[in-house]
């Protein structure tokens, strides 16, 4: 089959690779009909996530048709149309039984590697480094889906792929980011990063009852999409001082909760500070650039909540712990426990409360993946979200 493979920093290639096979009784093989490039794939592309190996198949947002099933998978049939959640979860460990699917205790065969970096290991994830299991990803014609009796959700009804594909990651991720904010009536929610995850966090904050939503980014096109689809007020951080603007917009209180939907490669408007953090990252003094997170903490109102859904890989520097502690802030975070949200969010789509396809700006073929990564990385042609089809 054809698959998009990581070949080193800033290089992906669509290559001919062996077809996946059933390896365990709870596996399924899915013929991928649509797959997306995630902003977090760019962290791999840019070489910031350790334990990648040349030839790794990328992609953790995908959906398709079940073509083969292991003997133990009784809830699916060949021919079913399914969306596959990006965290691989066994469904039976303590974490899974409490709904914390992205920290499944069993799905990462290379857990010992992750433990060296993180203390304890998170779940396995498709196409996201060997530290997270070394699973082949879904930017391919076919994908093997372990624990298929727990993960994939069957899609019935005449939805287009683009309407349900994002249940695999970015819609539930944004939703969980908003849910972690414990939104009360009248709340103002500020979101750093107006990419697709940030846009879904804003839309979700609205659905959960936020009074106002504020989007912070530097790309006018992304701010416009956020404004038009979620009613967000916008701050372009290259033109405005963010802390000052947020104080002004909330008459000095600060947002009730702040969502970091940026993660490890955030950008700072000051060239000097940006260069300082990039330099430290280059010599491995820190693995992550946390401008957005620092700003989210400093901006948040006293006793507010900072919700982190942007992806970090390792260690950050100049973390404003004093502000967090002295002002009674609550820091919440996590890779999304997607399995928990599939059914309720599919219901919201079915009821017409949201049409997630609003994030899509580019539709390309799997074979065009290398070009798609460049367009997405450099935000060429006002790129917001790329969907690849076979």
């Amino acid at each position: 089959m054809r698959a998009n493979c990581w070949m080193g920093r800033n290089t992906v290639e669509v290559r001919e690779v062996p077809d996946p096979r059933i390896l365990s009784d709870r596996d399924a093989i899915v013929r991928v009909t649509s797959t997306a490039i995630c902003g977090s794939d760019l962290h791999l592309y840019d070489g910031y996530i350790p334990t990648m190996k040349k030839g790794d198949i990328l992609g953790h947002e995908f959906m398709g048709e079940v073509v083969e099933l292991g003997r133990e998978v009784r809830n699916l049939r060949v021919g079913d149309r399914v969306v596959v959640p990006f965290p691989i979860a066994c469904g039976h460990c303590a974490a899974c039984t409490h709904g914390f699917f992205s920290v499944c205790e069993n799905s990462n065969p290379n857990a010992a590697l992750a433990e060296m970096v993180m203390g304890h290991a998170p779940a396995g994830v498709y196409g996201y480094s060997h530290m997270l299991g070394g699973f082949a990803g879904g930017q391919a014609e076919y994908a093997r889906v372990p624990f298929a009796d727990v993960g994939p959700i069957k899609i019935e009804g005449d939805f287009r792929d683009e309407q349900v594909l994002f249940l695999s990651d970015i819609f539930p991720t944004g939703y969980m980011g908003a849910e972690m904010c414990d939104i009360q009536r009248g709340d103002v929610i500020a979101v750093w990063g107006a990419g697709p995850v940030g846009q879904f966090a804003m839309a979700s904050a609205r659905m959960l009852g936020a009074e106002r939503v504020i989007a912070i980014d530097r790309y006018p096109q992304r701010l416009r999409i956020a404004q038009e689809n979620t009613g967000a007020e916008i701050i372009n951080y290259e033109q405005t001082d963010v802390l000052e603007a947020l104080r002004e917009m909330t008459a000095g209180r600060g947002p009730d909760a702040c969502i970091d939907a940026v993660g490890t490669e955030s950008h700072h408007p000051s060239g000097a500070i940006n260069a300082y953090d990039r330099g430290k990252q280059a010599v491995r003094l820190e693995t992550d650039r946390p401008h957005a997170l620092r700003e989210a903490i400093l901006s948040c109102r006293n006793a507010g909540i900072v919700s982190v859904i942007g992806v970090y890989g390792g260690f950050v520097d100049k973390f404003p712990m004093g502000s967090l502690m002295n002002r009674s802030l609550t820091l919440r975070s996590g890779q999304c426990h997607v399995q928990r949200y599939l059914r309720p969010l599919l219901d919201r789509i079915r009821r017409g409360e949201i049409d997630p396809s609003f994030v899509v700006t580019h539709r390309m073929r799997l074979d065009e993946a290398p070009q798609a990564y460049e367009v997405f990385k450099n935000k060429q042609q006002d790129c917001n979200k790329v969907v690849l089809t076979a």
């Binding site: 390896l23 365990s24 790794d56 198949i57 303590a94 065969p109 290379n110 699973f135 082949a136």
Partner: protein, 302 residues
């Protein structure tokens, strides 16, 4: 922890000593004739003394304790016997010399066997000083009685203990364990359960005569609040010296503790999910040593 394993030889020698000692004390005159020693003055006293010595060696060797020491006392006894025989050869007549030569040949052969046994027992005793003790623990989301039952059926162990090929449980409570050895070979040993408290503790130990004496103990402790079971494992191995020892050491890798941890991770996978978790880069499942980053995350060919 078993520390005695030196093979069956010391015990066989013990039985030989017992038989010989008893005969020497019962019918010294008859044996003196057969051996060609009956011309020596005080030969009855000498043979009774040798008999008492043999019974002493037998008691030591059959006790199973300190086989190295007791096999060396046999070697010392052999040296005494050979010097007595040398004395007898010088003073005996022609007909007796023939019988003395045969006796000396037999004692010489026994001496060689004793030397071999003593050297092996000494090596084993040294190896026992280097017992590898490994500990690891894991929490599983299953109640203690279920976890205990899974371990109690020893045939389940190879499902997650990577170095084991099989464990066959016999009717007598004993079991035969077969482990993979380098170059496609295998080694096996027999073990018995030495402690068995349902839902609490299970311990086993290899039987004497095992080339790699080993033992294991697992404790099962319920985590309060229905949070499953803490499984705490202690394993001990006494690898023999020499080539075999190196082979055994290889079985457990350079980081034996990591292997036990990997084993427990696989145990958790098996008891919680029913299977070993496999990824494209680790198609055989968790094995930090063998698979980490060895192949890209792509489906296997064929």
């Amino acid at each position: 922890m078993a520390t005695r394993g030196t093979g069956p030889l010391p015990r066989l020698l013990g039985l030989l000593s017992a038989g010989l000692g008893a005969a020497l004390l019962a019918v010294p005159e008859r044996l003196a004739e057969i051996a060609g020693l009956d011309h020596l003055p005080d030969h009855q006293t000498i043979l009774r003394g040798v008999g008492a010595r043999e019974l002493g060696s037998a008691a030591g060797l059959l006790s199973g304790r300190r086989p190295a020491l007791w096999t060396w006392t046999r070697v010392a006894g052999d040296a005494m016997d050979l010097s007595v025989l040398g004395l007898a050869l010088r003073t005996g007549d022609r007909e007796r010399r023939w019988r003395l030569a045969v006796t000396t040949g037999v004692i010489g052969a026994v001496t060689a066997l004793d030397l071999f046994a003593a050297a092996s027992a000494t090596r084993a005793a040294r190896a026992n000083g280097r017992v590898m003790r490994l500990r690891a623990s894991v929490t599983v989301n299953r109640p203690p009685d279920e976890v205990y039952r899974f371990w109690r059926d020893l045939a389940n162990l190879p499902r997650f203990m990577r170095h084991l090929e099989s464990v066959r449980v016999g009717g007598d409570g004993r079991s035969r364990w077969t482990a993979k050895a380098p170059a496609g070979r295998s080694v096996y040993w027999d073990a018995e359960i030495v402690e068995d408290r349902p839902s609490e503790v299970l311990a086993w130990r290899s039987l004497p005569g095992t080339i790699v004496p080993n033992a294991g103990r697992v404790r099962f402790v319920a985590v309060p609040g229905g949070r499953g079971t803490e499984v705490r494992v202690e394993l001990g191995y006494a690898p023999p010296a020499g080539r075999l020892g190196r082979m055994v050491a290889k079985l457990f890798g350079e980081e034996p503790t990591q292997q036990v941890k990997d084993d427990l991770r696989r145990f958790k996978q098996v008891i919680e999910t029913g299977e070993i978790v496999r990824s494209d880069s680790s198609p055989d499942g968790t094995d930090l040593r063998r698979h980490m980053m060895r192949r890209p995350a792509q489906p296997l060919a064929g």
